[in-house]
Symmetry: C2
Subunit: 400 residues, 2 copies
């Protein structure tokens, strides 16, 4: 199947591109490599050294014999987007190409506006391009479990039947997103749902949990295929960050009391979920929502798991509760449905010692690349200043 | 009270500015006059001749002795917005300054993107400015009843208690907006709700019904104070358009079977609702939602009322069902709560013969300004083309 992977150079997009290519799909990676530019902005780097997009694709051709296409451009540029869809006539589009870090969107006004503008308008351009050039194409869009927030009722997959004053309807599940980033995904979901309704396009909205891990069977086949591994406070997801903290003898920084519970999944399940969605397209006019995660953990549970795993490797780790820079609920109810991808055939990689060992070993292997200055939170949800400096002053001595 | 009226030159903003000024508030009108530019784009004009913003404000000073401030600028321009809030230190901000026509947002990709970009980012800038310069200021934001769509259950004011699998929560009312414009208002509501939660600002979201009428006690005091009256298919709301159609002997164009039911209100109630919201501010951190309408009508009911009123003035009018350019439900359930503004003291002007006479007489008075070419729908919800010409070719003979 001809598949465009928008954001195919990123943390989820790159291993997904490899996985789809390995499964026999004709993959074209579309990216503007802004994530690499943001590394420069944040003075942070992937823990794992990553090759240029050109070298990645070349390495994949060498090890697999498969040729992936590359299109460099920005989804905000309609001339680029329209040309892209008209020329490639994709059967499916996997859309990862959004600013995806909640803390990044909370830095200041400019970063909030950048995030919403980039995500909402880029996604609108994709919708208009599908409608105009490939109306039968299936949009597989990455959302987030964070769109739902933490309601005191069970979270369903996109829709909920509500009985109210003796009448019933099935309506979009009420959302309570917790950052400008999460909001942008809610806005996207509404826009996509509407496009399905008026134009009859096909869409699957994947509300993904927090992803951990970095390795997939494809990324292991050559060092140039390595996936990025973010451990700093802005882009680093919590489990990856904890493993790095343990490896360098830094306390595992738990925000508040650590009772915040979320859905999580292994990156090997991310790539498989995308494949399942692509190979089982939504109907024409259907707006389908899958909750894409495999297990629920509290932050404290994750910290305890990492401390145990570190202990078995002879590394002594400890957690430290620090002031929560985010505005979040504690000790809340959390129970979210996630059966639709299992029904399509997902066989989850549950979090276990093997994966934790592997993450810790990566952290130890690249220990000399770790910058201790970037693991502590600096972005505060409550400030909301219009302008904020986020540079880590390189001359400042580490406080730990 | 020092009040900024963003969009104070528009259809609702201008009479609101006058009303608040008349009630003794210190009003500053903020506008970029883009609505006047759009008149040029659409080759359409207000039925009523409207004075320039400068002349309007001058006339108001002459008749009332009250001086309103004027700030010309764009909410997308952060330098303008931050300077505005820092200098004026408003106690309340009434935010009308958004692209407000569903059909305009549906013209093509550029108009969809313009609408969402303008509305969402402008509103974000307002939120950041309040937080940074006047955290105690009360934001009174215009939303729309169209955010809710037409669910098969009663519509509540912003929030609904949901019981699900034996648990309960009060959650944001599920939304089903019906155009890129309506979507932009949903996105705004989520963004404002979040700002209230993280920064503790005060906000009232007014989900307004379809407004009709043009005259308020203040606009009548001088011809230069006249409010705009849109009757064409893009900006003209349905009742105003029907009155003009009746006055010129054009069939009243009902889209589809006319069973579409919505909430409506007189513009004299709009200005009073804003006053009530401003004078009874939300609490710090509160995101308050009022449904701002007074009566529900189906489109066909409105047509019948106009036909009756025209008949009493000796004008024979008839309705004509035309193909619906929108994607809408017919024969749907519709029952929406709207008690919160009544509780604050709103005394509605219900739709009656007097108002219909007045609208018909305005239509007859300015009959020579009516362009018959612009009353039929030209914007199609189903097309979704990236580029569409919307100019009415002036050389084309009218088909009616």
């Amino acid at each position: 199947m001809k598949v465009l992977v928008l954001g195919g150079d990123g943390y989820c997009g790159w291993p997904t591109s490899l996985h789809l290519s390995d499964a026999g799909h004709d993959v074209v990676i579309v990216d503007n490599c802004v994530r690499r530019q943001i590394d420069a902005e944040l003075s942070a780097e992937s823990l794992t050294p990553i090759a240029s997009l050109k070298d990645r694709v070349k390495a994949w051709r060498e090890v697999s014999g498969q040729q992936m296409g590359v299109e460099f451009g920005d989804l905000l540029d309609w001339e680029f987007v329209s040309d892209l869809f008209e020329r490639h006539q994709p059967e499916a589009v996997v859309h990862f190409a959004e600013q995806r870090a909640a803390p990044y969107s909370m830095i200041d006004r400019r970063h909030a506006v950048y995030t919403q503008h980039n995500n909402i308008i880029g996604n609108l351009n994709v919708l208009f391009a599908i409608n105009e050039y490939v109306p039968d194409c299936h949009l597989v869009k990455l959302g987030t479990m964070g769109e739902y927030g933490q309601p005191n009722i069970d979270i369903e997959e996109g829709f909920i039947e509500i009985e109210h004053k003796g009448r019933k309807d099935v309506l979009p599940f009420p959302k309570q997103p917790g950052s400008w980033y999460h909001l942008s995904k809610v806005h996207d979901s509404y826009n996509i749902h509407f496009a399905c309704k008026i134009w009859g396009i096909r869409a699957t909205d994947l509300n993904q949990g927090v992803v951990y891990g970095t390795v997939t069977p494809q990324t292991e086949r050559d060092p140039r295929l390595a996936n990025r591994f973010d451990y700093e406070e802005v882009f680093g997801t919590v489990l990856n960050r904890f493993c790095v903290q343990a490896a360098i003898g830094h306390p595992l920084t738990v925000y508040g009391n650590g009772s915040q519970t979320r859905g999580y999944l292994d990156i090997r399940d991310t790539v498989r979920c995308i494949e399942l969605a692509v190979e089982n397209p939504a109907e024409r006019g259907e707006f389908r929502v899958f909750n894409q995660f495999t297990e629920e953990f509290s932050v404290r549970q994750l910290a305890d798991l990492v401390i145990d795993a570190a202990g078995k490797l002879g590394v002594e780790a400890r957690l430290e509760e620090i002031e929560n820079p985010r505005v979040e609920k504690y000790d809340h109810y959390y129970n979210a449905a996630h059966t639709k991808l299992l029904d399509l055939g997902l066989e989850p990689h549950y979090l276990g010692d093997g994966l934790l060992d592997s993450l810790m070993n990566i952290a130890i292997q690249y220990g000399d690349r770790i910058d201790r200055d970037v693991v502590m939170p600096s972005v505060d949800w409550r400030t909301g200043k219009a302008r904020q400096r986020i540079h880590k002053a390189p001359a400042e001595p580490s406080t730990l």
